[in-house]
Amino acid sequence: MLVVLASSLGYFLAATALDPRANFEGRNPPIPESTIDHKLDALNMNTKTPILERYVTWVGDVVHGDLGTTLSENSVNNEISRRIWVSLRLLLIGSILGSVLGVLVGVFSAVRQYKFFDRSFGIISFILLSTPVFLLAILLKFGAINFNNRIGTTFFYTVGEYTPELGGGTWTLLVNRLQHLILPTLSITLGGVAFYSRYQRNAMLDVLSSDHLRTARAKGLTKRQALFKHGLRVAILPMTTFFAYSFGLLITGAVFTETIFGWNGMGQWFIISVQANDVNAVSAIVLFSAVLVLLSGFIADVATAALDPRVRLR
């Protein structure tokens, strides 16, 4: 339900704010208006057609699994199937690494409160949280270029997902992909680690001073057993809600990393499409991100149910 509403809202906003006609006007030689109209009609983007009518056509197509045609007359479906895995790979690895590492760092900080580890990571995460993704990505990129220059070979690749026309076996290809993958993933993950570790630390500190953990220790569990079995399980619960919220931020981050590192993913496509006034493409991307955010919310709910027996009973 929310997906339908969100994507409809996305469509209306895109259709009112973006003006595909501008792409054809003011060209030399001028294109006759009837030709423009004809072309825009074929794409279902003519601003002269009432917006509701365009919307109905769009919905009718989407229901049949057709997301329309881009301004450059490619099928949106084809474009998505080419780009979706690029973005999903980045988002999946980013969200999993970010949340897992963040939770681990948070737990360790809480256990070693006010020790060196806690303090240093506290400061680092504060700085990371104040650094916008684009600045972080740029700094990583320059750092990597300097590093490459220093050791004389290209260890980190800073442009693209893989080197085209690279020979060699599967292993070389895999290593090559990894070398491309490291920096964008890092720039999207670090923010997540900082975000989760702060909240996880606070949640863990609350649990550490709770009665049930003392009971667990008193009944003879080792500190490690007590912490992981009884402490972490409780302290990790509030994180699941943050997981759903932060996914939207992650998508935003992906837009920047893809643009800066030259990945042909959904985020980079979004920027191109907005600049090109491509209503159909933009609506498709909004639909994509709405589905992802809701999916992450669903995963968060499932995780809560798996961890918290009180929720399962209901």
Binding site: L5, G10, L13, A14, A17, S130, P132, I138, F270, V286
Partner: protein
């Protein structure tokens, strides 16, 4: 010796008496200024404001003037932060960008927190159908990343004033705070003073504005502070991609975007803007943290155990 022994409890007692005599505002201020990081953040932020609004007078170059004899010069006494490809003074440009970013950050934070307070308090107080409709709106807006929406709407404010941009940033940044306020209102509305007001026939609007919102003021102040940082980050991010502050005007985001193309060989083009951006947001989050601890000492006590 005996005198000394007697004195010790006396001192303690007078201290606690002193604490009781202080008003809440004084207490909060006292706790805030004991928070080292918060004071540090406050100092940095004040310095940033001084730099942004008084700093330009210490250089003879204006941000929109070009110095055609000094193209791409590294920092020097003449141009503190160096010059750009077309001879703009990076010092003046950076300060101009900082001004813009600070003003936008403050305005957006005030607007969005105000909106969040109203929506949250009304939803929580009225409950029932109004609550469901408002929370449903919040959910809808949370599903769509605000960044995407503002980018889509960017053609609407291209060529208009940046105030439209501020309104948009505020309009899509209030949802999470509104949820928190709603949750707090739920417990407040059952308290006696609210009930008394309701049974005396005080209209809903007055209850919300005179009784509910002042009671969540501490959360609002904290959130407004933290939102300043968030707003600056969103603004610079959008400007970085060309969807925010429009040329010829500059913001820290557009400066970084322009600087990165040649930044490997000419680092001064973006390093200052980047460092100032990080420092500003960092100081704001320190202040927000300090405020939270000052308003809610329970949170530190449990954390320090």
């Amino acid at each position: 010796m005996s005198l000394l022994n007697l004195e010790v409890p006396e001192v303690k007692e007078s201290e606690s008496v002193l604490l009781e005599r202080l008003s809440r505002g004084q207490l909060v201020r006292r706790r805030f200024f004991r928070h080292k990081l918060a004071v540090f953040g406050l100092i940095i932020l004040v310095l940033m404001f001084v730099l942004a609004f008084i700093g330009p007078y210490f250089s003879k170059h204006k941000w929109d003037q070009l110095d055609f004899f000094n193209l791409l010069q590294p920092p020097s006494r003449e141009h503190y932060f160096g010059t750009t490809q077309i001879g703009g003074d990076v010092y003046a440009l950076t300060l101009r960008g900082l001004q813009k970013s600070l003003i936008i950050g403050l305005l957006v934070a005030v607007f969005s927190t105000g909106l969040a307070a109203m929506v949250g308090a009304f939803a929580g107080y009225l409950s029932g159908r109004a609550d469901r409709v408002l929370m449903w709106l919040v959910d809808l807006l949370l599903v769509l990343p605000a960044f995407l929406i503002i980018a889509i709407l960017s053609p609407l404010y291209r060529g208009k004033t940046w105030l439209v941009f501020v309104v948009l940033l505020a309009a899509f940044g209030w949802m999470i705070t509104a949820r928190i306020i709603r949750g707090m209102t739920f417990s407040l509305r059952e308290r006696d003073f609210i009930r008394a007001a309701r049974y005396m026939g005080v209209p809903t609007r007055t209850i919300v504005f005179r009784h509910l919102i002042p009671n969540v003021a501490s959360i609002l102040i904290i959130d407004a502070t933290l939102n300043v940082g968030g707003a600056i980050l969103t603004e610079t991010s959008l400007s970085f991609l060309g969807f925010g502050v429009q040329p010829p005007d500059v913001s820290l985001g557009t400066l970084i975007a322009e600087g990165t193309s040649a930044a490997l060989t000419y680092p001064w083009l973006f390093v200052f803007a980047g460092a100032i951006l990080i420092l500003t947001v960092l100081s704001v989050s320190f202040i927000g943290d300090g405020l939270r601890d000052a308003f809610d000492p329970g949170s530190i006590k449990s954390a320090k155990k």
